[in-house]
């Protein structure tokens, strides 16, 4: 099973954010998308999730043998974006139950509580989410994303707001899901944490995947160096063209 983006382009007016981008993520991979701010990482994740349609190009999900049509496959995608998708006046449990009912994923109360436990909210007080810290909200957001046991995980900056323990928890979760054969794509700036779990690093620059580095025990410094050189090479090329 694999997820493919073929020749995806997206422009906001004259600004071309994604430029005939091609990307493949296979089952069992944990792909980390790197890139400078404004490079289009969020746009790519949103396009892959079906929230946004690209101007041209196709999304292809090999398991179904047909084109990716988000409404049909809604339970198969676990999405995390910058905003938490949480209802402030409901408790953590109620938020999960709401989404579970909406997705018709048929989970029991006990199963939802187990999920809360997985993200470290098992013993959290049953107060409305309004009273949660940023880190706790992020944990709940992760739980929400994992609700339907989705095949595809698309996480945009999932480490945001998490403390050391939280980041460790997330890594643990990703490894667990990875071992169950899920497709995982994340974006982040936290190179130290992501290095522990990623199978591959793709660098998004100027609307394309400028480089793809497998994670064969690469050191943090050389990864940083590699990233810097790709980004500045691209910038230089841009200057020459202009």
């Amino acid at each position: 099973m694999s997820l493919q983006a073929r020749q995806i382009s997206k422009a906001y007016g004259v600004q071309r954010v994604l430029d005939k981008l091609t990307l493949t993520v296979d089952a069992g991979e944990v792909v980390c998308l790197l890139g400078p701010n404004g490079a289009g990482k969020t746009t790519l994740i949103r396009t892959l999730s079906g929230l946004q349609k690209p101007d041209s190009g196709e999304l292809y999900w090999a398991a179904q043998g047909e084109s990716f049509d988000a409404p049909l496959l809604r339970r198969s995608i676990g999405l995390i974006l910058h905003q938490p998708f949480l209802y402030e006046h409901l408790t953590a449990f109620e938020n999960l139950r709401f989404y579970s009912l909406l997705y018709e994923s048929g989970q029991s109360e006990a199963e939802l509580r187990v999920l809360l436990g997985r993200v470290g909210l098992g013993n959290a007080r049953p107060i409305p989410v309004r009273g949660y810290s940023r880190g706790m909200k992020q944990r709940l957001t992760i739980a929400r994303a994992l609700l339907c046991d989705p095949q595809v995980l698309l996480f945009d900056e999932p480490y945001t707001g998490l403390d050391q323990q939280g980041c460790g928890m997330l890594n643990q979760l990703v490894l667990e899901e990875n071992s169950r054969g899920k497709l995982i794509l994340l974006t982040t700036h936290e190179l130290s944490f992501i290095r522990q779990i990623a199978t591959r690093f793709d660098i998004l620059h100027r609307g394309k995947i400028a480089d793809s580095i497998p994670n064969a025990g690469i050191s943090l410094d050389s990864l940083q160096e590699h990233y810097n050189s790709v980004v500045s090479a691209g910038a230089k090329r841009q200057k020459e063209q202009a």
Binding site: G13, V14, Q15
Partner: protein, 234 residues
């Protein structure tokens, strides 16, 4: 000049000539109406402006639907241009109506169904323009404009029927009665010429405004792209 611009220039000249022709005919070659006198001549342009106001609104709704199905921003530009031009004509209609009403019924305003409907239409137009100003993202702006144009247009007949129902229950209190005009064949011809001229004028103004809007939008985007710091709020 490109061929498109040449055609537009031609259309503009044609519109000008037709309106001039209608104006001259109305002033000098149309008999004066019996009951109302000279001021009745405002009617030809007043009615034509009303007609264009309605037409522009219908066109805006149609262009809006076309945008929603085709997702091409040029339809959105036409929607916005049509609303602006329509607003212009609607205001002309209201003011000319007031000029006409004053000497005849001794009042500036009547709660006549047509006037009520046309004024509500003007408010809807203005709301539309304010809506557009409140959205920076071009595709979101286009979607919202299309939706509002459609729902706004649907509300027009409903408003008209409500106002008319009100009128049948409450007979004329303020003196804005049904226009009792005797129109002979000559006057009708003038009216039709006037309607035609205004329609051509609408088309010319629409295309001019659309062209200007498209250029402005292109410029804005180029400036934004250069800057690089513009957040489209996706």
């Amino acid at each position: 000049m490109s061929s498109k611009n040449k055609l537009l220039a031609l259309l503009s000249v044609l519109a000008f000539l037709l309106v001039l022709f209608a104006f001259i005919r109305m002033l000098f070659f149309t008999p004066v109406e019996q009951t109302m006198g000279l001021v009745q001549k405002v009617f030809y342009f007043h009615m034509s402006a009303a007609w264009v106001g309605m037409l522009a609104f219908l066109a805006a709704a149609v262009f809006g639907l076309l945008y929603l199905s085709r997702k091409d921003l040029k339809w959105d530009t036409l929607t916005a241009a049509s609303v602006e031009v329509g607003l212009l004509f609607t205001v002309i209609c209201i003011i000319s109506g007031m000029i006409w009403a004053r000497p005849i019924w001794n009042t500036w305003w009547t709660w006549d169904p047509r006037l009520t409907t046309v004024t509500i239409m003007a408010f809807t137009y203005i709301a539309f323009i304010l809506l557009r100003r409140g959205v920076d993202n071009p595709t979101r702006r286009a979607r919202f404009s299309a939706v509002y144009a459609v729902i706004g247009f649907i509300s027009v007949p409903l408003t008209f029927f409500s106002a008319r129902l009100l009128r049948t229950i409450h007979p004329v209190v303020f003196g804005g009665g049904e226009a009792d005009m005797n129109l002979n064949a000559q006057m009708l011809t003038t009216l039709f010429i006037s309607l035609g001229a205004f329609t051509v004028l609408y088309a010319a103004l629409l295309l001019h405004r659309a062209r200007l809007m498209a250029q402005q939008e292109e410029l804005n985007q180029k400036l934004a792209a250069d800057d690089g710091s513009y957040d489209w709020g996706e």
